[in-house]
């Protein structure tokens, strides 16, 4: 990664993110929006993040892309605790604990 590319990404991503935040509150104001647009926007995060995580879980870089029991178990624990408790912090701590436990046991 060269410095110019990194700063190019930082600046454009910052600008783009600002425009996304600004578009309605700054430009559109309180004019009504088409329901279909809002309906799609509601699902952007739940549509992108699982797609981003899945390959990292199934083919972790740290193991050279080979599925790894510790990481799969940590995934299942994080999902279960997150689902039951709805608590982000509990899910992270449980997932990390599961990861370290299995990594330790399998040495």
């Amino acid at each position: 990664m060269d410095t110019a590319t990194v700063w190019f990404v930082i600046l454009l991503l910052g600008l783009g993110s600002y425009l996304l935040r600004f578009v309605f509150i700054g430009i559109v104001g309180d004019r009504p929006l088409p329901p279909w647009l809002l309906r799609h926007l509601r699902y952007t995060a739940v549509a992108i993040l699982p797609g981003l995580v899945t390959p990292l879980v199934v083919w972790p870089q740290a193991t050279g892309g080979v599925p790894d029991p510790a990481r799969l178990i940590a995934t299942v624990v994080t999902i279960l605790v997150g689902w039951r408790t709805k608590s982000v912090i509990s899910a992270i701590l449980s997932g990390a604990a599961a990861l370290y436990l299995v990594l330790y046991l399998t040495g």
Binding site: L41, A47, P50, W59, G82, A91
Partner: protein, 237 residues
Amino acid sequence: MADETVKSTFSKGVRDAVPFLLVVAPFSMLFGVVATESGLNVLETLGFSVAVIAGAAQFAAVQLMVEDAPTVIVLASALAINLRMAMYSAALTPHLGAAPFWHRAIAAYFIVDQSYGLSILRFEQNPDWSLKLKLAYFWGTVLPICPFWYVFTLIGALIGDAIPQWMALDFALPICFLAIIMPMLRTPAHVAAALVSIVAALCFAVLPYNLGLLVAGLLGMVTGAEVERRTTLAEHS
């Protein structure tokens, strides 16, 4: 309470947002660590947090840059994750849209998951709040979140090298994202969107330039919207 003041409403916002530091501080520190481990210097890492101020998009951008994805793909994927900010902006507009332009222009930068989520919740609980009170509350939620986002990114970037190998930091990002996704799955439409995204990400992983992620995101989004539309139709018929 009819006698709420700007000051008391601001404090209420601060009090409501403080617990979220438990998530924000470790998450931003982790970004600092992961970004510097990925080869960014301290200034670049902090630059990300100041310019973008959205954890998931920042992590995704760094992850894709490590994978040598083309810059266009890096930007498109990270901005797709931040599309939800447009939704937040739209949701806050009926409440804050009457503020002066300069005020809205500054507030827009500070629309993040926590300031949006808390503000919308309280605005709906207190429909009688004036614009002044609503703005006070919004800024109250920003204060304990955004400055610490920068500070803990910096701390993470500075201690990055001190993190030992056994801590398997490569997997901190997936665990954080999974933990963030789970509470979002409030309705069958959200679950459907997530499941389609997972299946599509696996099926389209062979596509070059990480295009698989964009395809997965698009299919998931359309699925969520369509399931919601049909659910609403069924409820009204």
